[in-house]
């Protein structure tokens, strides 16, 4: 009843997922044997999201126009390189923040007795969209420069704030319900 391409696709997805599970198992075993009491800085670091006006400024063409007016190729080159690095750092920071938000959410959600399927699905879709956007932004900044992807960057920034807000609201609602049911 299922065709060869479907069977191969299903087999490949299943194989990759199971290999990932097996690899994670052996990594966990290694980690637990060499676990240190001191937490890693990267794991514990809380990254504050950039304010929206800062995002708009990084990707704004206005600074680029200002530098162009100086007619200094060296300055232009330096500005382009620096601005690209800042933009890439912002994408990296946003993607880290999004992953941290989702990690916090999944850690809290898996214990919750009152999880809504629709809300979870929306959060997962939002997360997938953001991760896809971060990937796209990374490629676009590398190839076209930050000033050409301003719209996409502002949209990604807004979405990441929406995700953070949604997670925060969900946390408050879930905790409120559990507090009421416990008392």
């Amino acid at each position: 009843m299922i065709g060869i391409p479907t069977a191969l696709l299903l087999g490949t997805i299943l194989l990759l997922l199971l290999l990932f599970v097996a690899a994670r198992g052996s990594m966990d075993a290694r980690e637990s044997s060499s676990r240190s009491d001191v937490p890693l800085l990267d794991d514990e670091a809380v990254i504050d999201p950039c304010p929206p006006e800062f995002v708009a400024r990084i990707f704004s063409p206005r600074d680029w126009e200002f530098v162009s007016e100086t007619k200094s190729p060296q300055l232009e080159k330096l500005f382009r390189r620096e601005r690209k690095l800042v933009a890439l750092a912002w994408v990296h920071q946003t993607s880290l923040a999004v992953r941290r938000i989702m990690r916090e959410h999944t850690q809290a959600a898996r214990h919750s007795h009152d999880l809504q399927f629709a809300t979870e699905s929306k959060l997962v879709l939002l997360y997938a969209e953001l991760m896809f956007l971060c990937g796209m932004l990374f490629l676009a900044i590398q190839s076209a420069g930050p000033e050409r992807v301003r719209g996409l960057a502002v949209y990604a920034g807004t979405l990441s704030q929406r995700l953070a807000q949604a997670q925060h609201d969900l946390k408050a609602i879930t905790a409120g319900r559990e507090f009421h049911s416990a008392s």
Partner: protein
């Protein structure tokens, strides 16, 4: 010669797996998995004797009837992974129930649509086709289950991981072999059949390594800060309410 060697090695490995399961009391922790292995052992012995002493047609009937019972019993393994793996995680368990329900509804709908488009399938489908389809549905269910386990970072114990990875790989291999075998020529079909039969001991060895002794499932190591925080607030509020009640009682009493 090769098939006899494979048959006897399977019987031996299944017996050792069951013996270790009883010895380490894993049988009571994973009843569906050990019921499945017991049934496979029974099937192997029955088919071996039927192949040697019964007519070929009877052997074919016995093989396919026990094979379908095996597939039905193996659904219990998927449910057992869900039950054991998510017992400490009610939130993920709730989402998993919905996702698995959705998977079965979609699979049923697809089967009905395909059957409606091609009514001859019900008449012409071989036992192999049906078995392949059932295993494919199981494969999709395992994909959904594993994705959720990974997404919610559910920790696995060595035993549960062995059952899940071993059984998942077995389903994956079975789906590919059964699908390919119905659309290749006789020579490739024979090679595929031998390959399929001789691969089963590999899965049994994998299970034996992971289920040699009992190892606890890692409990929820990280207590959720949110819940901890609210437990603290709830305790403080209860204490304040008690104090307030006490004060009120004093005021009313005086």
């Amino acid at each position: 010669m090769l098939s006899q060697l494979v048959s006897w090695s399977c019987i031996a490995l299944e017996s050792v797996l069951l013996f270790r399961g009883l010895r380490s009391k894993l049988g009571s922790r994973y009843p569906a998995f050990y019921t499945y292995i017991s049934f496979v052992l029974f099937q192997d012995l029955l088919c071996y004797f039927a192949f040697r002493w019964a007519p070929h047609l009877l052997y074919t009937y016995i093989y396919w009837i026990t094979e379908f019972l095996c597939i039905l019993l193996s659904c219990g393994i998927v449910l057992e992974v869900y039950r054991v793996g998510l017992s400490a995680y009610p939130g993920t368990a709730r989402i998993t129930r919905k996702v698995l329900g959705l998977v079965f509804v979609v699979a049923l709908a697809k089967a009905l649509v395909s059957a409606a488009n091609d009514p001859r399938w019900w008449l012409e489908a071989t036992a192999k086709d049906v078995a392949g389809t059932l295993r494919a549905v199981q494969g999709v269910a395992i994909v959904a289950l594993v994705s959720l386990f990974l997404f919610y970072a559910i920790p696995f114990g060595r035993n549960l991981r062995g059952i899940l990875v071993g059984y998942g790989l077995f389903v994956c291999w079975t789906v590919i072999c059964l699908t390919l075998s119905s659309s290749v020529n006789d020579n490739v079909h024979a090679v595929l059949k031998n390959l399929y039969q001789s691969s089963y001991p590999v899965f049994l060895i994998f299970w034996l390594v992971h289920l040699w002794s009992y190892q606890t499932n890692p409990a929820s190591e990280v207590e959720v800060p949110l819940e901890r925080e609210y437990e603290r607030i709830a305790a403080a509020t209860r204490r304040r309410l008690q104090d307030a009640r006490g004060q009120l009682a004093k005021v009313v009493g005086s």
